[in-house]
C-alpha cells in the first residue's frame, strides 16, 4: 500500500488571482498538481476567492487532469461556487464526449 504524504493546499486565488484565464495558466496549475500527486502528496485545490474561470482554463485544469487522481480523492477541488461547478461539469463532459 502506498502511503500518502500530508495534504498540500493550493490556494488558487492567492496564486493566480480571482480571474482564472488562459490555457497556459490552467495547464501550468494542472502540471503543478500532477507533480505533487506523483510524489504521493494529497492535493487540495482551494477555489476560495475565485470570481471567474474561462472555459479554456477550466478545460486545461478539470478536463485534462488525470481523472483517477480526482476519483481516488488524491486531488480534491474545494470551494467551487455554483458557477464554477457548472463550468467544471461542462468542460469535463465535453472533453469526455469529444
Amino acid at each position: 500500500m502506498t502511503r500518502r504524504a500530508c495534504a498540500r493546499v493550493i490556494a488558487v486565488a492567492d496564486q493566480l488571482g480571482p480571474i482564472l484565464s488562459g490555457r497556459s495558466a490552467g495547464a501550468l496549475l494542472r502540471e503543478q498538481i500532477e507533480e505533487l500527486a506523483r510524489q504521493q502528496v494529497e492535493v487540495v485545490v482551494d477555489f476560495s476567492g475565485v470570481e471567474l474561470a474561462t472555459p479554456g482554463f477550466a478545460d486545461e485544469l478539470f478536463a485534462k487532469i488525470d481523472s483517477s487522481l480526482v476519483d481516488t480523492g488524491q486531488v480534491q477541488f474545494t470551494h467551487l461556487d455554483a458557477e464554477l461547478s457548472v463550468l467544471r461539469d461542462f468542460v469535463v463532459v465535453q472533453r469526455t464526449r469529444a
Binding site: I19, G22, S24, F90, V91
Partner: protein, 302 residues
C-alpha cells in the same frame, strides 16, 4: 496621386452590419499589390466603430510590415477632429506620421471614445481582456454576470487568434459601450490564415467545401482545428450568449460572412477578407450570463 498608386478611400460609417463594405473599400490594400505608393483617404470617415478600428488597424499593420508605405504614400486623416484623433491612436498609426496629411494634422478635438489594442501573446491578451472589460463596465451599465460573460468572450476570442490565425502579426481588438440604449460592441480581427484553412488542419474537417461551410462548422460546440489542445468553446459560447441576448454576432472570413443571434443569415462577401473578423453587439439590459450558456450546453451534451 501617382498614376501607379494604390488608393483606398473610407467614407461615412461602417457599423458591424457593414463590415463587408469596409473590406470592399480597403480591398485595394488587402490585394497586396506590390506598390509603395499607397494613398489611404480617411477624410470622409465620420464614425470609427470598433469593427472599423480593428480592420483598419490590421490592414495598415500588414501594409507597414510589408514595407508598402513609400516616399510618395499619403494618409489623409479624417476631417472630424474626434475621428481624426481616434484614428491617430490606432495601433501602428504612429509609424505612419510621416505620411499624414489633410485636415487637422496634429492634435485638436477630443479623443475617440474607445481604445483599439494590438496583441501577439497570451500575456498581452490577458491584459487587453481585463482592460476592455473594465472599459465597458465604466461606459455602459454592466452587471456582474454580464461583466464575467464579457471577460469570458474576450479571453476566448483573443486566444482563438493566437491559437488558430497562424500569423506573427497577432490580432487587434476593440470594444465600445453606450448608455442609451445600453449596449456594447466588441470587435476582433486578424489577417492570418482564416477559418477554413485553420479548420481543415483537423483531418475530421479536411473536406469542408468552402468558407461558408467552414464558418457554419466553426460556431458549433467542440469544433476546433486542434482538438488535443482546444475544445471549440470560444465561438460556440459567444453564440449562446448572443442568442439569449438577442444580440448580433458577425463572423467574417474569406468569401463568407455569417450573422448569428437576433438575425441569423449566411451572406456572401463582395470582397474576401484574408483573415478572420469577429464582431458582436449586445444589450446590457438583457441577459448576458455565461453560466446559463454552460448549463444549456451541458444539458445538450447529457
Amino acid at each position: 496621386m501617382p498614376a501607379d498608386a494604390v488608393e483606398a478611400r473610407l467614407s461615412g460609417a461602417y457599423p458591424l452590419e457593414e463590415v463587408d463594405a469596409l473590406v470592399v473599400d480597403l480591398a485595394p490594400l488587402l490585394d497586396l499589390i506590390d506598390s509603395p505608393k499607397i494613398q489611404l483617404d480617411l477624410r470622409d470617415l465620420e464614425i470609427l466603430h470598433p469593427s472599423t478600428a480593428v480592420v483598419l488597424a490590421a490592414v495598415v499593420a500588414e501594409c507597414a510590415a510589408a514595407g508598402r508605405f513609400g516616399p510618395t504614400s499619403e494618409v489623409l486623416l479624417p476631417r472630424k477632429a474626434a475621428v481624426r484623433n481616434a484614428v491617430r491612436r490606432l495601433p501602428g498609426f504612429d509609424q505612419l506620421a510621416p505620411f499624414f496629411s489633410g485636415a487637422g494634422g496634429l492634435g485638436g478635438g477630443p479623443a475617440g471614445g474607445f481604445a483599439c489594442h494590438h496583441f501577439t501573446s497570451e500575456v498581452a491578451a490577458r491584459v487587453i481582456g481585463r482592460e476592455l472589460t473594465a472599459a465597458l463596465e465604466a461606459s455602459c451599465e454592466v452587471d456582474e454576470p454580464a461583466s464575467n460573460a464579457i471577460r469570458t468572450c474576450l479571453d476566448e476570442l483573443l486566444d482563438n487568434v493566437l491559437h488558430h490565425a497562424d500569423t506573427a502579426m497577432g490580432g487587434f481588438a476593440a470594444a465600445r459601450g453606450w448608455r442609451k440604449p445600453p449596449r456594447f460592441e466588441v470587435a476582433i480581427a486578424d489577417l492570418g490564415i482564416g477559418v477554413r484553412r485553420s479548420l481543415t488542419k483537423n483531418p475530421e474537417y479536411a473536406s469542408v467545401a468552402d468558407d461558408m461551410a467552414a464558418l457554419a462548422k466553426a460556431v458549433q460546440l467542440g469544433v476546433t482545428s486542434t482538438p488535443d489542445r482546444n475544445s471549440g468553446y470560444g465561438l460556440a459560447v459567444t453564440r449562446g450568449l448572443l442568442d439569449r441576448n438577442h444580440g448580433l454576432l458577425v463572423i467574417k472570413s474569406g468569401w463568407a460572412e455569417l450573422w448569428l443571434g437576433s438575425e441569423e443569415e449566411a451572406v456572401g462577401a463582395d470582397a474576401p477578407f484574408p483573415g478572420t473578423f469577429v464582431g458582436l453587439r449586445a444589450r446590457t439590459n438583457r441577459p448576458f450570463n455565461v453560466t446559463e450558456v454552460y448549463r444549456s450546453l451541458l444539458g445538450e451534451l447529457e
